[in-house]
């Protein structure tokens, strides 16, 4: 019924709104037709033409008035009022630019912060990954009691591939990526990795140019083929089509380019990968079932749920652990994780925290503007009363308020969008290139339908809030009392109650954000100052690798190592030089299996990090020797095999007993027993935030590796030494490729966890600062307003003998009470919020007393300072004038 009604009325309203000229013309024509018919009738009755015309017009009782009445009939519609009210609202805002600018600024701040963070969250958590049917993709891990998400060995992967019934395909990629590419200017380290032949097919990615790998192209005998990324194609091959079929030398092997990936393709575990080649199980690791170096991705068959698939994989893992107890005894389980969770990984908790922070800031912004509106509606009491008295219905007044609120929210939302677009680009530019490579989903940030829709949604919601609160406040009784000249009515009291409740909320939210920022900031500090076990200053680092053909024999590697160390140690300012498999503080790679000679092998996986180090390693780092000795300079393959273990390893595998003199072996090489000669205190060989890991150190010259990190202790500025180090190494051999040249301080500051913590701390800190300012300004507004309302009361008090001090007390106690309520509420909420932060906290408890104490102190002092301004004004009231104004 109602709907049918609208079917007729809505088109009419739209017509009279947008096609006014046509509607007017039709009105004219209709009335003209009437007049002409009437004139004809009159002439037929015997009047002259002129008489007939006048008579017809007279019968209308004034043509123009009738027209106006007809127009009135169509103006009785909501849309037309809407338009007029919007224009009125904009005029009102223009008349009060101070209010308008403040409100719009606050709204823009809140909205843009929310949209920027939402844009990031959308890109990482919601936007589909560039793979076909990405919800069917899962990462599959081997699970041991210690590590549910362990990477997979090649032989286990091939068994999984053959035995499973749940994946339409399952493929793997090697985690130890990176190649040496021969270019016209020498060797260059390029990012990339090896994948099984069906990898891109499983992801559902088709090359932009050329073809995908053929199914047998990952067999050891196949010719070496590579697929390059779109960026590599643009940069290295100037986007020429003839790049296909070209041969490049990758790790010393000539390889043919067969395909180019599409521009939107990204794969976060190897975000910056330029070269993709096939596995071919060339790595010696891939010959051993116990050596884990692959990650696997499976595409679930239709109708197979992730739970069913996990159950099937569980059975396979159990079977393999029975069939191969030597290597798989501990890996009797498998874990399936949606691929998106693996790809987004660490970023999710940070984004959720930032999202909550932005939400709180948005809340405080809306509350702040509501307070401003309340203040204003109080000043407009007289206007409202007059409009009510001359016949504006309550509904009409409400509509006007609603429109004013919506206009304000819409302008704020629009500005918010503009600034959000800018802010997203700005923040994305702040992400350094290598971090962006590991978070490729942040590459194309910008407004999209989702963020714009959200902004519209919050603007409408905000507009309604802005409308409802002044309406709730403008009771009908006030329309009556507002008319009385000089009436104070009860408006001041109503306002003070509502306004002060809102300020308590603002203070509470500010406290929550400030506590959050404080905890995150303190975590960052703790992380950057975590005990690494060595002196981190004046330490320069770089890593080098070479084409496998160049230094194939152990003796060649040792010669190179000695040459590098001796040349660098002669550089000015160098105090000592050492090499290791990889620099401390980094990903925990380079692990292997440790066995204690004499203990029965039960297939357990005793994972330890192994580091092949030169004799000066510990003295260069200034590590702490606990017992035994360091390696000697001449401990090479001709001497008995020796090892140094760290405190954690000694404790774990020798349960506190003296490890010195014990014999161990690793990498399943029982024929090579090694004697432990020393125990050092733990050094951070793994990630900054992780627990201490068991580490086994062996002399580089007894176990040379294909590529090592050089660590240099210098007395000078370490950053200045790096270019010299690079040129020195290239002087030895230009084909050596160098990466990760940095100082230890940089390495710590740029470590992934430090980066995440820093981003979170900065953004939440910025939100907290904004919330702090808004809440203080809000408090000032409330106190100043209530003081101005109480001028006469203060005048009376002073006339009766109150001292200036008493007046100060009166005002400050009000401000103090509001702040105290906000602080108590805020601290309560902070404790709950800090529990949500737990995953991001490092070295700080959620009950961090200094933070929980400092934040309220800062806020209370600032609040009292802000209230001093109205208190002074109140104290300088002249009682005579205050009373006279009554």
């Amino acid at each position: 019924m109602r709907l049918e009604h609208w079917f007729y009325t809505v088109p009419l309203r739209l017509r009279s709104l947008f096609w006014r000229a046509q509607v007017e013309a039709e009105l004219d024509e209709e009335l003209r037709y009437h007049l002409e018919r009437q004139i004809e009738v009159n002439i037929a009755a015997g009047m002259s033409a002129e008489e007939a015309r006048y008579a017809a017009l007279r019968a209308m009782h004034g043509l123009d008035q009738r027209k106006e009445e007809c127009r009135d009939m169509r103006r009785l519609n909501f849309v037309d009022n809407l338009w007029r009210d919007s224009r009125y609202a904009i005029r009102q805002l223009g008349k009060n630019p101070g209010f308008a600018c403040t409100a719009i600024f606050v709204l823009t701040l809140g909205t843009s912060a929310a949209i920027v963070i939402l844009g990031f969250a959308d890109a990482a958590l919601l936007k589909p990954l560039p793979y076909r049917d990405q919800s069917r993709l899962v990462a599959v891990f081997e699970s041991s009691p210690r590590n549910a998400r362990s990477i997979v060995s090649y032989l286990d992967f091939t068994d999984w591939k053959n035995l499973n019934n749940v994946f339409s395909s399952i493929d793997a990629f090697a985690l130890n990526g990176g190649f040496t590419l021969m270019t016209s200017t020498g060797a260059e380290s390029v990012p990339g990795t090896r994948v099984s032949a069906g990898f891109f097919h499983t992801l559902g990615v088709t090359p932009l140019l050329g073809r995908d790998f053929k199914p047998d192209e990952d067999s050891p005998g196949a010719t070496r083929t590579i697929i390059i990324s779109y960026a590599a194609w643009q940069r290295r091959f100037s986007a020429r089509e003839d790049a296909l079929g070209q041969t490049v030398t990758l790790n010393g092997t000539p390889s043919t380019i067969i395909g180019v990936l599409p521009p939107d393709f990204h794969f976060a575990p190897f975000g910056g990968a330029e070269f993709w080649t096939t596995l071919r199980s060339t790595d010696p690791c891939e010959k051993q079932r116990g050596c884990h170096n692959l990650m696997t991705i499976g595409r679930l068959k239709d109708e197979v749920s992730i739970q069913n698939a996990a159950a099937d994989m569980q059975l396979i893992a159990q079977q393999l652990s029975k069939d191969y107890p030597d290597s798989n005894r501990d890996f009797g389980a498998a874990t399936l994780v949606p691929l998106r969770d693996v790809i987004v990984g660490d970023v999710r908790p940070v984004l959720l925290i930032l999202l909550s922070g932005a939400g709180l800031l948005l809340l405080i912004a809306y509350v702040n503007v509501t307070t401003l509106l309340l203040l204003r509606s109080d000043k407009r009491g007289r206007e409202i009363a007059v409009r009510g008295a001359v016949g504006a219905s309550t509904a009409r007044l409400f509509q006007q308020f609603a429109i004013e609120g919506l206009v304000l929210a819409a302008v704020g939302g629009l500005f918010g969008l503009v600034f959000a677009e800018w802010g997203m680009r700005f923040l994305a530019r702040l992400i350094p290139g290598d971090k962006l490579a590991s978070m490729p989903y942040f590459r194309d940030l910008g407004l999209n339908i989702f963020t714009i829709g959200f902004s519209c949604f919050i603007s409408v919601l905000g507009g309604l809030l802005f409308a409802i609160i002044p309406i709730a406040r403008t009771s009908l009784s006030q329309i009556r009392t507002g008319l009385k000249e000089g009436s104070r009515g009860n408006a001041g009291i109503t306002w003070r109650r509502l306004g002060s409740k809102l300020v308590v909320l603002e203070v509470a939210v500010a406290i929550v954000l400030m506590v959050g920022a404080g905890l995150l900031g303190k975590s960052l500090y703790q992380l950057l100052h975590v005990d690494t076990g060595f002196r981190t200053d004046h330490l320069a680092l770089l890593s080098l690798t070479w084409p496998p053909a160049s230094y194939g024999k152990d003796q060649q590697k040792i010669v190179l190592e000695r040459e590098v160390m001796s040349r660098i140690s002669s550089l000015p300012g160098v105090e000592s030089v050492a090499v290791s498999l990889t620099s401390p503080v980094g990903p925990a790679w380079g692990s292997s299996n440790l066995h204690v000679v004499g203990q029965p092998i039960q297939g357990e996986h005793n994972e330890v990090l192994h580091r092949q180090v030169s004799s000066a390693y510990f003295t260069t780092l200034q590590a702490q020797l606990l017992s035994g000795r360091y390696f000697a300079d001449n401990e090479d393959a001709s001497k008995p095999l020796v090892a140094i273990v760290n405190r954690t390893l000694a404790k774990k595998y020798f349960s506190g007993a003296d490890a010195i003199g014990k014999q161990i072996y690793y990498d399943w090489q029982p024929q090579l027993p090694i004697q432990i000669v020393g125990v050092v205190d733990d050094l951070k060989e793994g990630p900054l935030e992780g627990e201490a890991l068991p580490v086994l150190y062996v002399p580089f010259e007894q176990k040379p590796v294909a590529g090592f990190a050089v660590l240099v202790r210098t007395s000078q500025a370490e950053a200045l030494l790096l270019p010299n180090m690079i040129s020195t190494i290239h002087a030895i051999d230009p084909l050596i490729s160098i990466s990760n040249s940095q100082t230890m301080t940089e390495r710590i500051n740029q470590s992934p966890s430090a980066y995440l913590h820093r981003s979170a701390a900065w953004v939440v800190g910025a939100f907290a600062a904004a919330a702090f300012l808004l809440s203080i300004v809000g408090l000032y507004g409330v106190v100043a307003y209530s003081t101005s309302q109480r001028t006469q009361e203060i005048g009376v008090r002073m006339a009766l003998g109150a001292q200036r001090r008493n007046v100060y007390q009166l005002i400050l106690s009000e401000a103090g009470r509001l702040t105290a309520m906000g602080v108590v509420l805020g601290l309560g909420c902070s404790l709950a919020a800090a529990r949500l932060l737990r995953t991001m906290l490092f070295g700080v408890s959620t009950w961090d007393a200094p933070t929980l104490l400092a934040v309220p102190v800062v806020l209370v002092i600032s609040a009292l300072l802000a209230s001093c301004i109205p208190a002074r004004r109140a104290g300088s009231v002249n009682p005579v004038e205050a009373l006279r104004s009554e």
Binding site: W6, Y33, H34, Q38, H61, D72
Partner: protein, 111 residues
């Protein structure tokens, strides 16, 4: 706004709706029909007819369309809509109730 003072307030709407229930007509013809059917008892000024028509149109009770009229000129013809027909039933029922009540009062015997 000038009102049809000679009609009980609101009855003009009822009359127009009733007339249009019989056939679609343009404004002038509605005026003629009103005079015709009521004799000269109901004096509806031409001036008040059009605002009333426009109001009914905006309410959705009647709809308008431009068609050639009996003298072959373009005229705005009004037709009753389905919601309009329901409105007519309501208004007519109201009118019947009101007029019955008033006649009962008028017929009260003085003692």
């Amino acid at each position: 706004m000038s009102k049809p003072t000679d009609l009980v307030q609101g009855t003009l709407d009822l009359l127009i709706l009733k007339i249009l229930a019989l056939e679609p007509l343009h404004g002038w013809a509605i005026g003629q029909r009103l005079k015709q059917v009521s004799g000269d008892t109901l004096q509806v000024s031409d001036g008040s007819l059009y605002p009333a028509l426009h109001k009914l149109e905006q309410e959705g009770w009647i709809k308008a369309e431009w068609k050639p009229s009996e003298n072959n000129r373009r005229a705005k013809f009004y037709t009753l809509t389905r919601p309009g027909r329901k409105e007519l039933e309501r208004e007519a029922a109201n009118w019947n109730r009101l007029s019955t009540a008033i006649s009962l009062v008028v017929q009260l015997k003085e003692t």
